[in-house]
């Protein structure tokens, strides 16, 4: 397995056949029947043609193992971030026609590699870059992706497969889904507790532009910037300094529960960030506790992608 853009092969599994019983039994039956005719007739032509048939069947059964063993698949770049449950397109290029199924993260199988595109049909250029869809089910950090490649070339008699692990040039962060935020803390001036209901306020010096978010007032729209960028932009003013909110995330050991907790945490952080509230996120990562400010969805997503459950305390002996 080769890779470009730093996607280096690390290790690969054994080559194994896919559901070999029916093809093997069929081929053996054909050869046995042929041998029976040869034995009973004693005809030289039967043996001569039977030898060629045996050669074709043998090549059809064994050649795919050789092809899949020598197959080349290059992963051309990987997105830096993804979201659990949402598809992720990864450009790949194969030297031969392969059926590829992502295993980790999972995804639907697809055919990649040189192929013939019939005239008049829509499709990518034969031999060009193709895309593999990853569908990560859970959040996490992926330094490598595991793919299962399979082929039955040249005769399509028996499929052989092999699992390969492709190291990525940069880690793929899969953030959790945006969950429902927990009850947010009340703002400093929100003595009535209706801070959520108030319209957003912009005070202070202008500090730039940002894309429009639902809730922004129409008078904040920056028309020149909008015309220039093609996207609705609003003035971003310095907001009142607020006390940071610390979001402490303690994930349970059970993966599904941890996933739900991470989703809620992300939703909470994003809601706070969107409100302009500085957020300090406290998580436990494989290297240990990590406490730090997060200013945007991406950073929060990455922190939560790395988060793990707290280790069980070591009992005293």
């Amino acid at each position: 397995m080769t890779g470009r853009a730093g996607a280096r092969p690390r290790r690969s599994g054994r080559v194994r056949p896919v559901r070999p019983v029916v093809p093997l039994v069929s081929c053996v039956a054909v050869l046995l029947g042929w041998g029976l005719v040869a034995h009973n007739s004693g005809a030289g032509w039967v043996q001569a043609v039977g030898d060629v048939v045996a050669g074709v069947l043998a090549v059809g059964l064994v050649a795919p193992a050789v092809v899949v063993r020598r197959a080349t698949l290059a992963v051309l770049g990987v997105p830096a971030d993804g979201t659990a449950g949402l598809p992720l397109e990864v450009p790949v290029k194969a030297g031969t026609r392969l059926r590829v199924r992502p295993l980790d993260p999972p995804g639907p199988e697809a055919f990649v590699g040189p192929h013939h595109v019939p005239a008049g049909t829509a499709g990518g250029e034969p031999g060009g870059t193709e895309y593999l869809t990853l569908l990560p089910a859970r959040r996490g950090v992926y330094p490598a992706i595991t793919l299962e490649i399979a082929t039955a070339a040249p005769f399509g008699l028996l499929w052989w497969r092999r699992a390969v692990v492709v190291e990525l040039s940069r880690q793929l962060y899969v953030r959790p889904r945006l969950g429902r935020p927990v009850a947010l803390p009340v703002g400093r001036h929100d003595t009535a507790g209706d801070g959520d209901l108030r319209a957003p306020v912009q005070v202070g010096e202008p500090r730039g532009m940002r894309p429009y978010r639902p809730g922004d007032l129409r008078r904040w729209v920056h028309w020149p910037g909008t015309a220039h960028s093609g996207e609705l932009m609003v003035r971003d003013m310095e907001g009142p300094t607020a006390e940071p909110v610390t979001v402490e995330v303690r994930l349970p050991a059970e993966p599904e529960a941890a996933e739900r907790a991470a989703e809620r945490a992300l939703g909470t952080v994003v809601a706070l960030v969107d409100r302009g509230t500085p957020v300090v996120l406290a998580t436990t990562e494989p290297d240990g506790p990590n406490v730090g400010a997060v200013g945007d969805r991406r950073t929060a997503g990455r922190r939560l992608a790395r988060a793990v459950a707290e280790p069980e305390p070591t009992p005293w002996r």
Binding site: V37, A43, P154, G156, L157
Partner: protein
């Protein structure tokens, strides 16, 4: 567990997704049709059945393709019923009939397979079903190959393999959504298939007919002869190979010796036509009959009470004398008659059993086995012979004249008259040999050293003796003269001998595993009686050199024979197709792909014809400017044309089609406007040996030119 198995069966039989590949369907249909054609070629299907099933297979495949997304529900029950009817028909063909031989089973088997394929063709919506069709075509080819005995069957094999390989490649392409095997992959695959096939061929033993079914025997178009057990020359028997000539319509030529007499003066024109094919465990001299009575010109079979014994046991016939033969090995031979043949059952010594498609057979005292029916093309019979070849040491130790069963000495020592000279010659040659075997070998060696082989010998004069003429006359002859001379010499010194005629093994075909016996392989040799061992064959012709041997002619003859036996029509057709394809491909590669390329080539052609080819690295504009200069065209017509071409090639500004055509026409018309370049004239050599321009005398030199730094004043120097 039962539910699981049932679920697995249901899952396996679940209809697959519809197959949309037309290539795969055409290939599968082609493979099945090739199998049908092969069966028809081997006579296992009638023209009606072959034609009807071909049409039905194609129609069925088309219907399956049209209804692949929604197979018609009522088709399956009808097809199941049709298949059932075919099986019932097949078993009815077998019941009530004796399974006489393999061909009895193979013909109805081929019909059954074909009808199953036809039924299957109407219900192949998915790829898996088409794969079964391909596998089914293999069964048709196997049944046809079981009957094939000549190399021409290879055409059907190649067609079927081509369709099969294309079908398999199309199957992969369909399964992989457009995957293709590149040229390198095809080459690697072909090599792998050939290597594997060769390895299997080497490892597997040679095909061997199973002993559980009757050996092949087929009467072919044989008809009963009016004189049962008789040969040509016996009254009303007319069935015999006729002598032919190169100018004859058949050019076959038949050996006249396969009759009730052998005229040693006649041979006939024996051609290269294959008269029969033999599958045997080892090459042998296949005896047709033997003669014991020599009259100086002809061999005949002396009349005797036990001349011919009718065998009425039915197939397999046990040959008298052969049943008692003892031998460690046996040789099973199957003879496939290709041309009309004499009604002789050829066999290797000593025949023990004969599988022959007749109620009776005739065995003569001379070891000839005579058929009651004429043997025409398609006739098949099988002989099992006992192989009992004693060693020279054993033959040297044979008993003396006291061992004389059934009057062997009396019958096989007779001569029409005293051959005094032949006897004296034989005695002188064998003076030092004490036993029969050595005497025979000495005489054979003498014949090999003192005679020559040729079929072109002058005819005998009336009353002339063949042996005297051969031994003491021209000493040139063919197998009949040579073997007869040996026989006469042996008889003259008291050794019982008879003349045997038959066929020698022809060329062996490793694919069909058959010996191709040609008409010219007819041969005559001698059999010498050894007490305790019976008749032993000796071939004196084998040691006789050709009358005009030359290595070159021999090599040329062999090469011509090999070249002549190649199937030139299919080879030529394939070479022709490959050549045409290569020429077309080369022309297409050279053909200009774009308008700009055509225009550029037109400009280059004009310049080349004018003697100004385009230099390497010269742009089209520069080249066009040079052409304008050569043509004296200040308006720069060529440059203008070149600018348009370059704008099209590099700028993407293609002119309108009509304008492009006008431009090309203009370029063609302007080709003659550039004048041809003249070569510069060479100046003559001057008297002083220097090259001088014409009209100017060579400069004189009265003193050597001054050297710098020598102090001498130079001309013109300031004082």
């Amino acid at each position: 567990m039962a539910v699981t198995i049932l679920d697995a069966v249901r899952r396996a039989n679940r209809p697959g997704p519809p197959e949309h590949s037309v290539t795969l369907r055409v290939a599968c249909a082609g493979a099945v049709v090739a199998g049908i054609a092969a069966c028809r070629a081997e006579g296992e299907l009638s023209w009606t059945v072959a034609g009807a099933t071909t049409v039905l297979v194609v129609a069925g495949m088309g219907l399956s393709y049209a209804t692949r997304r929604r197979p018609l529900p009522w088709v399956k029950p009808i097809l199941a019923g049709a298949a059932l009817v075919a099986f019932v028909w097949f078993f009815r063909q077998l019941t009530g009939h004796t399974v006489y031989d393999v061909s009895t089973v193979e013909d109805p088997l081929a019909v059954l397979f074909v009808w199953v394929q036809v039924a299957h063709a109407f219900d192949v919506p998915a790829r898996r079903d088409l794969a079964f069709s391909l596998a089914g075509s293999a069964s048709l080819m196997a049944v046809a190959a079981a009957q094939a005995i000549d190399i021409g069957f290879g055409v059907y094999v190649l067609c079927w393999l081509a369709f099969g390989i294309v079908g398999l490649l199309a199957m992969w392409s369909s399964a992989s959504e457009g995957g293709r095997v590149g040229a390198a992959g095809l080459v690697a695959t072909s090599v792998a298939v050939l290597v594997t096939a060769t390895a299997v061929l080497v490892v597997l033993p040679a095909p061997h007919v199973a002993g559980k079914i009757d050996y092949p025997a087929n009467a072919g178009p044989g008809a009963p002869l009016p004189v049962p057990g008789g040969l040509a020359g016996d009254g009303r028997v007319t069935q015999l190979a006729q002598p032919g000539s190169p100018a004859g319509p058949s050019r076959v030529g038949g050996y006249l010796g396969f009759a009730n007499h052998l005229d040693t003066a006649l041979r006939g024109a024996l051609g290269d036509t294959v008269v029969m094919r033999v599958r045997a465990e080892r090459p042998s001299y296949w005896v047709g009959e033997t003669f014991d009575d020599w009259d100086g010109a002809d061999w005949t079979v002396a009349p005797s009470p036990d001349a011919s014994q009718q065998l009425t046991s039915g197939s397999p016939f046990v040959i008298p004398g052969g049943a008692g033969a003892s031998g460690a090995d046996s040789d099973l031979q199957t003879f496939y008659v290709v041309q009309s043949s004499p009604n002789l059952v050829f066999h290797a010594d000593t025949a023990r059993e004969v599988w022959f498609p007749a109620r009776d057979l005739y065995a003569s005292a001379g070891d000839a086995i005579v058929s009651p029916i004429a043997l025409g093309p398609g006739a098949i019979y099988t002989v099992q012979s006992v192989v009992d070849t004693p060693s020279p040491t054993q033959l040297r130790g044979t008993a003396g004249p006291a061992d004389d069963p059934a009057g062997v000495r009396g019958r096989y020592l007779e001569l029409p008259h005293a051959y005094a000279r032949a006897e004296a010659l034989a005695l002188s040659v064998t003076a030092r040999s004490p036993d029969t075997y050595d005497k025979v070998q000495d005489l054979i060696a003498w014949i090999g050293a003192h005679t020559r082989y040729s079929t072109d010998i002058p005819p005998l004069a009336p009353g002339q003796d063949t042996v005297d003429e051969f031994l003491f006359g021209n000493r040139t002859g063919f197998c009949e003269q040579i073997s007869t001379a040996l026989a006469v010499m042996l008889r003259s010194i008291g050794i019982p001998v008879r003349e045997a005629v038959g066929y020698v093994p022809g060329p062996y075909d490793p694919i069909t595993d058959l010996y191709d016996i040609q008409a010219r392989d007819a041969h005559a040799w001698v059999q010498v009686w050894f007490p305790g061992y019976g008749w032993q064959s000796f071939d004196p012709t084998a040691v006789v050199p050709l009358a005009n041997p030359s290595p070159g002619s021999t090599i040329a003859h062999e090469a011509a024979h090999i070249l002549g036996s190649l199937p030139w029509v299919p080879i030529g057709a394939v070479l022709g197709v490959v050549l045409v394809a290569a020429v077309v491909r080369r022309r297409r590669a050279r053909r200009p792909r774009t308008w700009a390329e055509r225009a550029a080539r037109s400009i280059e052609t004009a310049g080349r014809r004018a003697g100004r080819p385009r230099a390497d690295g010269e742009t089209l504009s520069e080249y066009a400017a040079a052409l304008d200069a050569a043509a004296g065209d200040r308006s720069g017509t060529w440059r203008t044309m070149a600018a348009v071409v370059e704008a099209s090639a590099y700028g993407g500004h293609d002119p309108a089609p009509e304008e492009a055509r006008r431009l090309l026409a203009s370029l063609r018309a302007m080709r003659g406007t550039v004048p041809r370049r003249r070569r510069r004239a060479q100046a003559p050599i001057g008297a002083a040996g220097e090259l001088t321009p014409v009209g100017r005398p060579a400069p004189r030199r009265s003193s050597p030119p001054p050297r710098a730094g020598d102090g001498s004043p130079s001309a013109g120097a300031a004082g």
